[in-house]
């Protein structure tokens, strides 16, 4: 549209900020707005377009960034009191790539503190609301990223996914979210939660947008030793709707107890639609799935306890006002600066790494990780894509699960296994329940088969004729 001059970037950006002004009071997706810079960026892109420059498809498009992705000169809080006034001196690699392609940055999006949570209720600042029902949570931790897209407060957004933090909110907010293969997108500048699981990925209203952004942010980065050396396709230009012969696996462990019957049925119906278009469906089994949640919480908490140790009040961020000596400064700073969920995970992680417990917890969890990885690898010898629910139910009410961390953790049951296995996965809307809340269809692929996932999602989107957005 921008290229064909149907609308200018300035007009588009202005309309997005108008929308933010209209609905942000209800949604609370943003922690920091970047309007002045955004308008300047838009004007710059417009002049380039006027000059006939060949620009990236993302040029001039308003993009929101999750607040754990560092943005040079733009406050990056991780929704924590600890980093309330922290302004990073550098851009994350993914952010740099988005900027280089001419994206207009709308602002920084709310999240669960340090990406720990499933509802965005763990933000130090405010809970974000689900645009489909503002009494409900948008999911998390990338709740702001999903809600902003659903509410029209950004065209596309970047989120991060450690145990489902892109897919789960995408599912609850009825948008498309992609969690890339571990190592596909640089983690440099993504404030670490669990280094071996974290991955940045895009959220958008449609598969095409997500494919376009993913094509721009993917790639090896010499600043991230864990980013993979390989060539990546332009996913967007290779999208196709042909499902003939696509082998879809339905893992029985993902359709068992605890999954809402409507969610289950909706996912099966979606798969049936794809079968009608020529996909081949078979039931499979991933027997170690039951252990994934515990190994996820052990590994992610262990890494988090170490990754978050740097917030000690010495160099940047929050420091307790009153303290008596160094140890007291550490204790007070960290007690006052972190929220309950973050502290819970730091304690859990510290415990599982303690001498005497390491073998029983961390080491065992890493062994399970291997087993889970090999089970997936074995399945992907025969099938192309695994289809499953993204979440056991649709979005719950704000405050409904905050008193019971274990119940909250259980909402991640369908998504964490993918992070443990390092695989790519997507969530796309496939139904709406009788409250009008979206149900997510999760598609899981083998390592680096994002194109297959995107194609499958694109075909499905084509079958249903697009996804509906909420009215606010």
């Amino acid at each position: 549209m921008l290229k064909n001059k149907e609308i200018s970037s300035t007009e588009l950006t202005k309309s997005v900020f108008d929308r933010i002004k209209a609905v942000e009071g209800k949604v609370d997706a943003y922690l920091t707005l970047n309007e002045e810079n955004a308008m300047a960026q838009a004007a710059d892109i417009d002049s380039k377009l006027d000059a006939g420059e060949e620009l990236s498809p993302l040029a001039g498009i308003p993009v929101g960034i999750k607040d754990n992705i560092t943005t040079k000169g733009l406050r990056t809080t991780c929704a924590s009191r600890m980093l309330e006034n922290y302004v990073p001196p550098f851009n994350a690699t993914a952010m740099e790539k988005v900027l280089d392609s001419g994206a207009v940055i709308t602002g920084k999006l709310n999240m669960d503190e340090f990406a720990m949570g499933s509802s965005t209720e763990n933000s130090y600042y405010k809970p974000t609301k689900n645009p489909f029902d503002t009494d409900r949570i948008p999911g998390g931790s990338s709740g702001g990223s999903a809600a902003a897209v659903a509410a029209g407060e950004a065209v596309v957004t970047l989120g991060s996914d450690t145990g489902g933090s892109i897919r789960q909110p995408a599912s609850y907010c009825g948008v498309v979210g992609l969690k890339p293969t571990y190592g596909a997108v640089s983690r440099y500048g993504l404030v670490a939660f669990a280094s071996s699981l974290d991955q940045i990925g895009p959220l958008g209203k449609c598969v095409k947008d997500v494919a376009m952004v993913q094509s721009l942010i993917v790639g090896h980065d010499k600043l991230d030793a864990t980013s993979a050396y390989r060539e990546y396709p332009n996913y967007e230009s290779q999208l196709k709707t042909d499902l003939k012969g696509l082998k879809i696996g339905l893992p029985k462990e993902y359709f068992g107890e605890g999954i809402d019957p409507f969610v289950k049925q909706s996912v099966l119906n979606a798969v049936k639609e794809m079968e009608k278009q020529g996909a081949v469906v078979k039931e499979i089994s991933l027997p170690s799935t039951d252990y994934a949640l515990s190994s996820y919480y052990i590994i992610s908490s262990a890494e988090a306890s170490s990754n978050l140790a740097r917030y000690d009040g010495v160099r940047y961020g929050f420091r307790a006002e009153q303290f008596d000596g160094l140890t007291d400064m550490y204790e007070r700073t960290r007690s006052e600066g972190f929220g309950d969920e973050v502290k819970r995970r730091i304690m859990l992680g510290t415990f599982v790494l303690s001498s005497g417990f390491y073998d029983a917890y961390y080491k065992k969890a890493k062994l399970l990780q291997r087993r889970i990885q090999s089970e997936f690898a074995q399945q992907f010898e025969d099938i192309d894509v695994i289809a499953a629910p993204t979440t056991p139910s649709t979005a719950f009410k704000i405050g409904e699960n905050t008193g019971d961390p274990l119940k909250m953790y259980a909402t991640d049951i369908c998504t964490v296994t993918v992070n443990i296995a390092g695989l790519p996965a997507m969530s796309i809307p496939c139904a709406y329940d009788n409250n009008g809340l979206p149900v997510g269809l999760q598609l899981i692929g083998n390592r680096f088969t994002e194109q297959t996932l995107l194609n499958t999602a694109y075909a499905y989107e084509n079958i249903v004729g697009g996804f509906k957005m909420p009215e606010l």
Binding site: P88, Y188, S195, D224, T226, Y358
Partner: protein
């Protein structure tokens, strides 16, 4: 043995590697620059940053591994060592816990003429921390300098194979000279580029090893000796008084000359080591391990043995030369000419050269001396063209200028007079003026001859060839 006790010492040596850049970022690895000037978001541990390994560090550590006869673990990982301290911005140090890059090695050292083999348990790579700055000027707070954060270190852990502080000192000096030979560490003690922790225990002969204490903050080799001696005395005193030694970490205060308990075993920190998820497993090809092995020069501990056995140097001289890369390189180049015995060179190297270096604080490289020139000097002394006294004058010039020896001799008129006519003339004059001494000699007082020769030398202003002079005088007196 000290007072009937066997002493057991093990050392952990930290050496800073002198790579261009730091271990996990591209900041310069340089000492002594402005506070917090050699830092970036990565070594400051800013949120979102990630480490990437400087491969040079692996190479350097493997070279040290080869030098200490270690087996190289071609596949190993890096681990996080978690603890809070203001000089550690990430609140963890990236190190190696379970599997070090190098292990199971040894180093042969010479202690009082005896060859001793000290086991090397392991060598691993890790990052250094920053430095806290304390000053009254800071108004009650401490400041932190992060320039040193991410400076690459190797930690060399020995077996408890040393039996005296003297042995520990030789081991430390040997490691230092090996590091210098490999050119991987600046070895500047005052800059902290080598630091060590000392483990000491004592036991009665025939009894099992005693409980050890670990001593930190040992900043020089002489401090290590003092610290060990203090600790041995302390432990023996405790045992003699009927007490027991507790396993603990102590801090050495070199100014006070005593160690203070820092923490007991019960309070030992739990570092919660786990594999560093931000870095890949280190995988070194066998080919690279072999290539690195080929770069190891003859090491000083081996040189010492060779100098003693092949060139007949005494251990003290051999050690002195071998432990200095430059002196040994120079001496080896001289000997390679195959012209003169070692003594013709060591006299100059250990005498005038070392004296000059000590007096001026300069190094050999600061002088103009070359093996060629020194060989020429040895030659003119050997063939009596000039006297030893003249040789010293030439040497002084050679330190400052790269000039042919012959030219210096000519300029300074140092050539000995060997011309018989000239010498006879001098002899005639001296004999005529010293009739008493001539008669003394004839009367059997042979030492009168020395006096006469001395007088002739004086008359020649030192230029007469003393041997020739003596011959002529004898001929004249005895007829």
């Amino acid at each position: 043995m000290v007072k009937g006790y066997e002493v057991v010492i093990g050392l952990e040596v930290h050496a800073e590697l002198n790579t261009e850049t730091k271990i996990y970022c591209s900041c310069k690895n340089q000492f002594g620059l402005e506070v917090n000037s050699q830092v970036c978001p990565i070594c400051m541990g800013m949120p979102g940053t990630l480490p990437t390994l400087n491969e040079k560090v692996v190479d350097y550590a493997i070279r040290m591994g080869h030098a200490l006869n270690c087996s190289i673990n071609r596949i190993c990982k890096q681990d996080r060592k978690n603890y809070f301290y203001p000089d550690l911005p990430k609140a963890y140090q990236i190190s190696q816990a379970e599997v070090p890059l190098c292990e199971n090695g040894y180093v042969d050292i010479l202690v009082d003429g005896e060859e001793r083999r000290i086991g090397v348990t392991r060598i691993h790579i890790e990052e250094d921390a920053g430095k806290l700055l304390h000053s009254d000027k800071f108004d009650g707070v401490s400041l932190v300098d992060l320039n040193r954060c991410g400076v690459p270190l190797i930690e060399i852990v020995s077996e408890p194979d040393m039996r005296s502080s003297a042995e520990a000192k030789v081991y430390l000096e040997t490691l230092k000279s090996i590091l210098q030979y490999l050119g991987i560490c600046d070895c500047k003690m005052q800059e902290g580029s080598i630091r060590c922790d000392v483990n000491v225990s004592v036991h009665k002969p025939g009894e099992p090893m005693g409980t050890r204490s670990e001593m930190k903050n040992v900043n020089s080799f002489s401090a290590a000796v003092r610290g060990i001696d203090y600790e041995v005395e302390r432990q023996i005193a405790v045992l003699e008084a009927g007490g027991t030694i507790v396993q603990e970490t102590r801090r050495w205060d070199d100014v006070k000359g005593e160690s203070i308990s820092m923490r007991s075993k019960e309070d030992a920190q739990d570092y919660r080591y786990f594999p560093e998820p931000d870095l890949l497993t280190i995988v070194v090809e066998q080919e690279r391990v072999d290539e690195l092995k080929a770069t190891i020069p003859e090491l000083p501990n081996i040189k010492i043995l060779r100098y003693v056995k092949e060139f007949g140097l005494n251990i003290k001289d051999a050690t002195f030369i071998a432990e200095s890369v430059e002196l040994a390189g120079f001496f080896d180049a001289c000997m390679a000419k195959g012209k003169f015995a070692a003594k013709c060179y060591t006299t100059w190297i250990l005498g005038e050269l070392v004296k000059f270096m000590n007096e001026t604080g300069k190094t050999l490289a600061d002088t103009k001396l070359t093996p060629d020139n020194l060989t020429d000097l040895a030659e003119v002394i050997e063939n009596k063209t000039i006297s030893n006294a003249g040789g010293k004058k030439v040497f002084v010039v050679l330190l400052e200028e790269d000039k042919p020896v012959a030219e210096i001799i000519k300029e300074q008129g140092l050539a000995q007079v060997s011309d018989e006519g000239a010498l006879e003339k001098i002899a005639d004059e001296v004999l005529a003026a010293n009739e008493k001494s001539v008669n003394d000699y004839k009367g059997g007082k042979t030492n009168a001859l020395g006096y006469l020769v001395g007088q002739c030398m004086k008359a020649s202003k030192g230029k007469a060839n003393p041997g020739k002079m003596k011959e002529i005088i004898l001929k004249k007196i005895e007829g």
